[in-house]
């Protein structure tokens, strides 16, 4: 690694003489979604190499997990993907339940679907708004946060927190919904549905946005699979995979009886694509535009799932059930479970020696794998395309660095 400050003027002279230049982007650059540092090797405006440097937000979450009981670690999962904390709680809870072979009540199951899908909408709204910011447009961000705020209000009413919920926990949820919550949630969905058209008008079909994203950062399905990419990044390349449908039975059982279609392009068409703007002529499957569009489709998909979950939850008359004891012993053995978080497949691996405190906990971060592919996508692009590509991966540094 070349140093950026050098006392010897001759070396700087030498650097100027060459065509290549090292440009440091971040760790505080606003388009890096947190504290990510990218070192770009540039030849004029062309980027020949990108090297991401991560770890600025490393908090040893896995080491901490070796000193806490499984339920005590829930708040630490909140702080991984802090934009979709509900989904992270769910991932860890299910992994522990898999090892304990624990079955939550029917009511808890539907409530979990409800909450997790609302969390997905909130996360994708941030992804969309922040992506607009990356590309230099401010208004979509405000539109997205206006709606996200209402989801956070709903979450606050359900569990008391706005960002780090610890609501879904091992053995169920910490509390049932307060009275009148479902009405408010339905009111939000009715108000939210027409707003999606505004998003499409603001970004999806915006000529400048399409110019900035179509055919930029094209990722082939083979490349995505080899790097272990997942979530909208994988589906944006046309790979038909969604853990909610293809995952392990303990996770897919949660979505039993729910109707949803995986948001992926098949034979040149997205599901129900007549309701949405057409794919621009310049867009290539696997480019930034498609990754963005898959997220937008998933917002609608999640909305549908929330509606279904509301009906089912309301029809469930059984008890919610209590979460397991804080110091519940976990049977010896190991279990690995991947769930479909908004950013991709989040895996939790748990090794237990039979005591209440896990021997080893491991978080397989989806953003970590999604970011690792950056240097392949950015090779040969323009400097201005780097934020467009990194933004389209929709990473969150808290989850990458853990």
């Amino acid at each position: 690694m070349a140093s950026f400050v050098d006392d010897d003027p001759r070396i700087i002279e030498f650097d100027v003489r060459t065509d290549e230049m090292l440009v440091n982007m971040g760790p505080q650059h606003p388009s890096t979604h947190g504290v990510l540092r990218l070192v770009l090797r540039t030849d004029g405006e062309i980027v020949s190499e990108v090297e991401p440097h991560i770890g600025y937000l490393h908090r040893c979450a896995e080491k901490i997990g070796e000193n806490l009981t499984a339920r005590q670690w829930i708040p630490y999962t909140d702080r991984m993907d802090y934009l979709a904390a509900m989904n992270m709680n769910l991932g860890w809870s299910l992994a522990v339940e898999k090892l304990m072979q624990y079955q939550v009540s029917e009511r808890a199951r539907h409530l979990r679907v409800l909450i997790a899908e609302l969390g997905r909408i909130a996360s994708h709204l941030v992804g969309m708004g922040a992506y607009g910011l990356d590309l230099g447009t401010f208004s979509p961000f405000l539109y997205a946060f206006r709606e996200r705020e209402k989801i956070l209000d709903l979450f606050e009413e359900a569990c008391g927190a706005r960002l780090t919920y610890s609501y879904i926990t091992v053995g169920g949820l910490t509390a049932d919904l307060p009275p009148g919550w479902l009405k408010k949630c339905e009111a939000f969905l009715d108000q939210f549905e027409p707003v999606i058209k505004e998003y499409h008008a603001l970004l999806t079909t915006n000529a400048i946005f399409v110019k900035r994203t179509a055919a930029i950062g094209v990722m082939s399905p083979a490349l995505a699979i080899e790097y272990g990419c997942s979530g909208p990044v994988l589906r944006g390349s046309g790979v038909d995979q969604d853990m909610r449908r293809d995952g392990e039975s303990i996770y897919t059982a949660m979505y039993d009886g729910y109707a949803f279609e995986v948001a992926v392009m098949k034979d040149g068409h997205y599901p129900r694509d007549h309701e949405y703007p057409p794919v621009p002529a310049d867009a290539v499957l696997g480019d930034c535009w498609h990754r963005f569009f898959v997220r937008m489709l998933e917002v609608v998909q999640s909305m549908d799932l929330v509606r279904q979950a509301i009906d089912r939850y309301a029809a469930c008359k059984g008890p919610l059930g209590e979460p397991v004891k804080l110091t519940e012993k976990i049977p010896a053995g190991d279990a690995y479970l991947e769930t479909e978080c908004p950013k991709g497949q989040m895996g939790f691996y748990l090794v237990s020696d039979g005591s209440a405190i896990p021997w080893r906990v491991r978080a397989r971060s989806s953003s970590f794998s999604n970011l690792a592919v950056t240097h392949e996508l950015c090779r040969g692009c323009l400097i201005a395309d780097v934020p467009a590509i990194v933004g389209s991966l929709d990473i969150v540094m808290g989850e990458i660095d853990r």
Partner: protein, 177 residues
């Protein structure tokens, strides 16, 4: 899951002696692989087996070591480092778990990191995963193109996810503990 009947037998026939054990009735069925053969096994699983495991999801190192001598006398295992590979097949939508047992220190000399072949030549995505295992658990991956620390600073000492790791008292003038 290990899919299809005779899967293990076909692996055994293709690479005799590479599989040293298996537990197919476990929650996540796993096979234990000879450390010297890990790259061959991974390449076979990716390119030649009936189920193509085209994606590496995760590499985890588990440090089996009890620092407390009183508790260490009671445990049923010998100290070792266990590497766990979680593979996934996007076509078959199936997973498989590989486990590799390594000594905690190469040649039992404290400070000498155990070595294993890098699977970056099989899946390019293994690059960062192996860097992370090297950084936090101290396993040397031979043949890795760029084995540096990834989460901790480059001048960090020790490997934090080892059970005998001692947190430094200070780092560049910042107080630890």
């Amino acid at each position: 899951m290990v899919r299809g009947p005779g899967f293990l037998e076909r692996l055994e026939a293709a690479l005799p002696g590479a599989v040293t054990g298996s537990r197919l009735d476990a929650l996540d069925p796993w096979i234990e692989v000879d450390p010297a053969r890990i790259v061959d096994v991974c390449r076979w699983l990716k390119d030649e087996s009936s189920v193509r495991f085209d994606s590496l999801q995760c590499i985890t190192a588990v440090d089996w070591f009890e620092p407390d001598p009183k508790k260490a006398a009671k445990v049923a295992w010998q100290p070792h480092t266990e590497l766990v590979y979680h593979l996934w097949s996007t076509s078959a939508r199936a997973s498989i778990v590989l486990k590799v047992m390594l000594p905690r220190w190469s040649g039992d000399v404290a400070g000498q990191l155990p070595e294993i072949g890098s699977v970056t030549s099989v899946w390019r995505g293994a690059n960062w995963h192996e860097r992370e295992v090297y950084d936090l658990s101290g396993v040397q991956f031979t043949g890795h193109p760029d084995l540096r620390r990834i989460l901790c600073p480059e001048d960090w000492e020790g490997h934090p996810l080892r059970k005998d790791y001692v947190q430094p008292l200070e780092y560049h003038g910042m107080r630890g503990r």
